[in-house]
């Protein structure tokens, strides 16, 4: 790593620490009852681009997302969402209307190994799954094999991940920061045109709970698949790079708004087995921007 990169990395880290007040009050002790939870009905709408085309989507459902300190040591994070989803995929004229359901659930349990300290080493495990079924009214899902590819937007798509992460946790007076390095297996179920893929990934994640009401997170990931044979006489290895960022504000009455942005890109290295010729290709990136409005269905905790 170059000195410049190291310096900029440290600056970023320092910025995060300052943001959470860590440097302001060194040595402070963790607060045992920390949590920040958004829970209720949600409506979100977003635009995006994908390999299948540009999208305009909205969903209506319920979500529970948050972070909670348990018994002073265990830090639990989760996000569970079930929603009806509808929107348009702009891959031909006229645009394709899609309607269906979307569910995601992930949970991460981690330990603050020095639970009485504001700063603590942290280790966690995360399991996650996301599934989506989107159809076109009046058509069977199997009909998508006779239309332009809708992979990742229409039809059935499912992803799962298993993550191990390690880093540091800062916790004090309703403020928290998690900064982790992680390794994960990210699985993508096969779609109509893309075979199933298993990525071995590493990444860096940061979550800042500036207070119980304001949260920001950012995460970057890089990973590869194993080499897989492809006809005619070649192998192909896919590399994935992605980034997500989320900002959420919970109001006193329990309502919340959130904005998220993500960017992902897959690249492939195809090697002709007869001649050894290498082709490095890169898919058009997948981009998504969404705004979410949440309405609590339960009374907010005082």
């Amino acid at each position: 790593m170059s000195r410049a990169r190291l310096t900029s990395g440290l600056l970023l880290l320092q910025l995060g620490l300052v943001s959470t007040g860590a440097l302001a009050e060194p040595g402070a002790h963790a607060e045992p009852g920390f949590d920040s939870v958004a829970r209720g009905a949600v409506f979100d709408t977003g635009i995006g681009s994908s390999m299948a085309g540009d999208t305009l989507m909205a969903q209506l459902g319920g979500e529970s997302a948050g972070i909670r300190l348990l018994r002073g040591t265990w830090l639990l994070q989760w996000d569970v969402l079930v929603a009806a989803k509808a929107g348009y995929l702009a891959n031909e004229n006229p645009y394709l209307f899609l309607l269906g359901g979307h569910a995601l659930a992930w949970a991460e349990g981690g330990a603050r190994f020095m639970s009485t300290r504001t700063w603590s080493p942290y280790g966690g495990l995360r399991l996650g799954n996301e599934a989506q079924i989107m159809g076109h009214p009046g058509a069977a899902l199997s009909d998508f094999d006779r239309s332009n590819a809708v992979d990742g937007v229409g039809g059935v798509s499912e992803r799962a991940l298993f993550r191990v992460d390690a880093g540091v946790s800062f916790l004090e007076r309703g403020r928290s920061m998690l900064l982790v390095l992680f390794g994960q297996e990210a699985l993508r179920a096969p779609t109509l045109h893309v075979p199933g893929q298993a990525f071995t990934e590493v990444g860096l994640g940061a979550r800042f709970d500036f207070s119980r009401s304001v949260m920001a997170s950012v995460e970057g990931v890089w990973g590869v698949t194993s080499n897989r044979p492809m006809a005619p006489a070649r192998t192909d290895q896919t590399t994935h790079v992605g980034m997500t960022a989320t900002l959420r504000k919970i109001f006193k009455n329990g309502m919340w708004i959130a904005g998220s942005v993500s960017w992902d890109r897959d690249s492939d290295r195809a090697v002709d087995e007869e001649t050894g010729t290498v082709f490095d290709t890169t898919n058009a990136p997948t981009f998504a921007f969404a705004l979410l409005y949440g309405l609590p269905l339960w009374r907010a905790r005082p």
């Binding site: 004229n93 094999d145 006779r146 332009n148 992979d151 109509l192 005619p232 010729t277 890169t282």
Partner: protein, 441 residues
């Protein structure tokens, strides 16, 4: 939003689009085309096609070399005197529409349009083929999968007028129009002087992108209707196969590159303007395979283009080729991507799956004009062998010993019946007429 507005919007989106894929073809610009091999000369004896029944049964898998699927020794294919293929693929005309009078005008071996062939209009009245009154039709019938399938009507080939009526502000009768040699003298001359196929079908019943994808990938790979949809850039292609074996290609156009099929633009690897193409012909520096596309909607024959202007473009290609030092080493394939919603009377057959066990696209689309222009092309010859664009792919694979991309091209004919490589033939060609004029008011 009409199609043109949609495409303009697409073009705008593409021009400021950071979303483009990278196809990994950067090395092509630094590659040198292998020098022409003097050992490739006349005298290759192509045996009778004994493998046709096996190909019809889709017996050959992707990866199969042409020597195996055609039953021709590799050394014979390696001796064929063609080392440069020019694919001049134009847009959106059916065989009956463009060359419907070829049977009566110089090429009696071509199947004539039956006198009984008609399409009912919306009221059920029969619309018969009629001489077009203009070479610049201002109507563009629906020609994506829904429209073409409506036109084919399960093989009856009688739904084109109703499809056109439903998708244009007209009664749809114009899709039964035809041209003859008085309109398109150069096109007719090419089709009656060189080798023409009257059984060349679009690879699938749909529009530009999907059908052109078959040429490049041996499959449509998730592309059905033209829109914002492209195959993944890691899809194996004839372009990759050529480069992997040290062969070169270029995509030449002053308009939409490959008619927009891959979202390429000027400046992308392998892309050149038409002047570069003419220079390469003039200087004998052609790549192994040249894909040339006329300016869209102006000279590519896509409605509303003037077909006579399209003839002028094709004549330019021909004139430069004829004078090229590489004339004796090249073959020009002049064809159309798909029939564009214009009527054709021949029911398309089915073909092998483009990808193993997965793709439902086995139905070919309506016939399109297809002519091979080369000193080695048989003269005044008509092929009745069923082809689609993957036959061009297979021809390239046969010339350069490349494996098949998919089952579709693996089991395709390779156009060799359109050629005569024997020694002692008179390889000169008669003078060509000038392109037509004056039919576009």
């Amino acid at each position: 939003m009409n199609r043109r507005s949609f495409l303009v919007l697409l073009a705008f989106a593409a021009s400021c689009d950071p979303q483009k894929a990278d196809w990994g073809f950067d090395p092509i610009d630094g590659m040198k085309t292998p020098p022409d091999d003097p050992a490739r000369t006349c005298g290759a004896s192509v045996p009778a096609d004994a493998s046709s029944p096996r190909r019809a049964a889709c017996a050959f898998a992707s990866g199969t070399h042409a020597s195996e699927s055609l039953g021709i020794d590799r050394s014979v294919l390696a001796s064929l005197p063609i080392e440069h293929v020019i694919v001049a693929m134009k847009e959106n005309r059916s065989f009956d529409h463009l060359l419907g009078k070829l049977h009566d005008r110089g090429q009696p071996g071509v199947e004539a349009v039956p006198s009984t062939y008609s399409n009912p209009d919306a009221r059920g009245n029969a619309v018969f083929p009629a001489h077009a009154t203009t070479t610049c039709l201002q109507l563009d019938p629906g020609h994506q999968s829904e429209g073409i399938l409506r036109g084919m009507n399960g093989g009856k080939m009688d739904g084109f007028v109703q499809n056109a009526a439903a998708t244009t502000a007209s009664d749809g009768a114009f899709v039964m129009s035809y041209y003859d040699a008085t309109d398109l003298p150069f096109d007719y001359w090419l089709a009656s002087t060189f080798a023409v196929s009257d059984r060349h079908f679009a690879p699938m019943p749909s529009g530009t992108y999907a059908n052109r994808d078959f040429l490049l990938f041996g499959t449509n790979d998730g592309v059905v209707d033209t829109g914002i949809v492209y195959p993944p850039p890691n899809t194996p292609s004839i372009l990759q196969l050529l480069m992997a074996r040290g062969r070169t290609w270029r995509a030449y156009s002053d308009g939409a590159i490959l008619s927009g099929t891959l979202d390429w633009s000027a400046g992308d690897p392998g892309v050149r303007g038409m002047q570069s193409f003419y220079d390469d012909l003039d200087h004998g520096t052609l790549p192994s395979v040249a894909f040339v596309d006329a300016v869209d909607y102006v000279e590519d024959d896509h409605p509303e283009a003037d077909l006579q202007r399209g003839e002028t473009w094709l004549k330019s290609v021909y004139d430069h080729a004829l004078k090229s030092p590489q004339w004796q080493r090249l073959a020009i394939v002049w064809t159309y991507d798909e029939a564009g919603g214009f009527a054709d009377h021949v029911a398309p057959p089915t073909a092998c799956r483009p990808l193993p066990s997965k793709s439902p696209f086995t139905q070919l689309g309506p016939r399109i004009p297809f002519v091979v222009i080369s000193p080695w092309a048989k003269r005044n010859y008509v092929s009745h062998v069923v082809h689609d664009h993957t036959a061009i792919t297979r021809f390239i694979e046969a010339l350069f010993d490349l494996p098949a991309l998919t089952e579709r091209d693996a089991n395709s004919d390779a156009l060799l019946d359109l050629f005569d490589f024997s020694c002692g033939r008179d390889l000169s060609v008669p003078p060509a007429p000038s392109p037509g004029t004056g039919r576009c008011p």
